[in-house]
């Protein structure tokens, strides 16, 4: 969703004759008046809670009584106590959730990128029914995540699920697979559902990039009799690479935040727990606001780092464009 924000980081060119005339000054005053409500609301619902979360991560706060807590420094993160290390950074469950999330992100985004390119190329071809196809691939995107997780949960049901039934009928498996409860297949099941749901988004972003490519290159390649596969790798792919990169980064940021899909599909089991699910479990189920906030803060830092990289990449692109 947030891919919309991706570009246009540099301010739009505004009238060249900029002198601080009375008119300009009154317009600047109006600008501040217009952005003030938005800034106030964002500070209230994003800035303040984030600051409080970071602060809580340095305390022993408990959900039962949020007003009674003590400052304990970095003990939630790491502390040496009675000859052993304790804290988030040495909790194997936390690292397991980090690994789950990273694995899920790498695998699902890679598959979505490849499939997204395939679907985008298909939609970029002129064929009867193209509009209908575009509408069809939007449907998985429109279905709420919780609902799609439930739908797939039912399809992947170990005894009565249609997926096992299909595979059995086709003779691909000998006995039903326990998809979502078995740690070996559960994350793959999550990836499958995510691919189903997020590929349309990827495909639409790539399609938009494809449609802006100049057609005369393709005309020339066709006249020269160059094989379409060669044209794709030599011409199309390099040209859409920047847009592809933006789409991949947005999907990856989204995937790193994953919560609802895994929570619903695999019943929040520890084998498949994501970083967000880990933090929420500490915060809400175990009531450990301090410890859970430490996990939240780390997730925030990881994603913030990636956002900074994104913006730097965005800047680099802009300066390339300017040349």
């Amino acid at each position: 969703m947030s891919a919309t924000a991706a570009r246009d980081i540099a301010p739009a060119p505004i009238s060249a004759h900029e002198r601080p005339s009375p008119l300009t000054r009154s317009r600047v005053r109006a600008a501040w008046a217009f952005v003030a409500p938005t800034l106030f609301v964002l500070a209230l619902i994003a800035g303040w809670p984030l600051a409080r979360t970071i602060w809580f991560s340095l305390t022993d706060a408990n959900l039962n009584n949020l007003s009674d807590y003590a400052f304990i420094g970095f003990e939630n993160y790491l502390v040496h106590d009675n000859g052993e290390w304790l804290g988030l950074l040495v909790d194997p469950e936390w690292w397991r959730s980090v690994w789950n999330t990273v694995w899920f992100t790498l695998v699902s985004v890679s598959i979505e990128t490849v499939l997204g390119i395939v679907v985008a190329l298909m939609l970029n071809a002129a064929f009867p029914g193209r509009g209908i196809m575009r509408a069809i691939i939007l449907i998985p995107w429109a279905i709420p995540t919780v609902v799609s997780a439930k739908m797939w949960n039912w399809m992947l049901h170990d005894q009565f699920g249609v997926i096992n039934d299909m595979l059995l009928r086709l003779g691909l498996i000998a006995s039903p697979i326990i998809w979502t409860a078995n740690p070996d297949t559960a994350l793959w099941a999550v990836v499958m559902v995510d691919v189903w749901k997020a590929t349309p988004f990827m495909a639409l972003l790539i399609l938009a990039a494809l449609q802006m490519l100049p057609q005369d290159i393709y005309e020339a390649a066709r006249v020269d009799g160059i094989h379409p596969v060669r044209v794709f790798f030599r011409v199309t792919l390099p040209l859409i690479r920047p847009a592809l990169l933006v789409a991949v980064i947005f999907r990856a940021l989204d995937a790193l935040r994953v919560f609802d899909l895994i929570y619903v599909l695999t019943a929040n089991s520890r084998d498949t727990m994501s970083m967000s699910a880990y933090a929420r479990q500490q915060l809400v189920d175990f009531q450990e606001v301090g410890f859970g906030s430490a996990a939240s803060t780390l997730i925030f830092l990881i994603i913030a780092l990636l956002v900074v990289i994104t913006i730097v990449v965005g800047r680099v692109r802009l300066s390339e464009d300017a040349q």
């Binding site: 570009r7 809670p49 691939i137």
Partner: protein
């Protein structure tokens, strides 16, 4: 060769369409079967049984859940649009110092992991006395929609030609009048798209809704469906869950199909422009 590649292409189209549509088709199919019928797999409808659609409203306050979702998403969209039309005018049309840094900050907020604000938000919602209330959810969901609506509307606002407001400026119109008389009518299509996308975000939101509500009567649709159980431990609730899923998905699919072009434009706005 040519024929072969044509066949291959149509096969690909068919496979993609099947993959995209089958889960929803199967949900509709399952929702129309009940009791022991669900213990066997069917690929075609045999006997249409609407009892799941009645049961889902009788066994739990699902009507209330839907109403909650509509109230939350509707209010979130209205507030986000009202705030962001003003902000987008300032960001898109007026040069002022600190503009890019503010825009970057807002972009950053749109990438916040929700869980990063969870404990702070929990504390705030509780201290406002909004725990387990709809206003609490509205407040929380604004964090997800507002940065995004500001960004998209700013992008749209920038694309409008400069001449549009020059005449009004010459006539001495104030910024407030310019926004209301000149930009508001022009922004209507963009606002519809952005509002629709924000509506979908709020309609689908799960983490806040799960954490900041307690009773079934106050839940929105996603946690209601996620926490749905059968009438006994031995009953498979899948029929009713699928019925609930179909009920809440159909309106969204209808909206998406009607506004298809606009949604694609909204999703890709700014994302690919060089």
């Amino acid at each position: 060769m040519k024929l072969l590649s044509r066949i291959g292409f149509w096969l690909l189209v068919l496979v993609i369409a099947l993959f995209a549509l089958f889960p929803f088709y199967y949900a509709v199919l399952s929702s129309l079967r009940s009791g022991s019928e669900l213990f066997s797999v069917a690929y075609w409808p045999e006997r249409l049984d609407g009892s799941n659609y009645i049961a889902v409203f009788q066994r739990q306050p699902f009507g209330q859940n839907i109403l909650n979702s509509i109230l939350v998403a509707g209010t979130v969209v209205a507030l986000s649009l009202a705030l962001s039309v003003l902000a987008a005018y300032a960001f898109g049309r007026i040069a002022f110092r600190g503009r890019s840094i503010l825009l970057m900050t807002i972009l950053g907020v749109s990438m916040f992991p929700q869980v990063a604000v969870l404990s702070g938000m929990f504390e705030m919602i509780r201290s406002f006395g909004l725990y387990n209330t709809l206003p609490g959810l509205i407040l929380a969901n604004m964090m997800l929609t507002l940065p995004f609506t500001v960004w998209v509307l700013t992008t749209f606002m920038r694309e409008l030609p400069k001449e549009i407001e020059e005449a009004a400026l010459v006539d001495g119109a104030t910024p407030a009048i310019i926004v209301r008389r000149v930009f508001l009518p022009l922004m209507a299509p963009a606002a519809v798209t952005t509002g629709l996308l924000a509506f979908v975000v709020s309609w689908n939101e799960f983490l806040f809704a799960l954490t900041f509500t307690l009773t079934n009567e106050r839940r929105t649709v996603p946690p209601a469906i996620a926490l749905m159980t059968g009438s006994s431990a031995y009953e498979l609730p899948w029929g009713t869950i699928m019925a609930a899923s179909v009920i809440v998905t159909l309106p969204i699919i209808a909206l998406v199909l009607v506004f298809q072009r606009r949604i694609v434009a909204g999703l890709t706005a700014g994302a690919v422009k060089g």
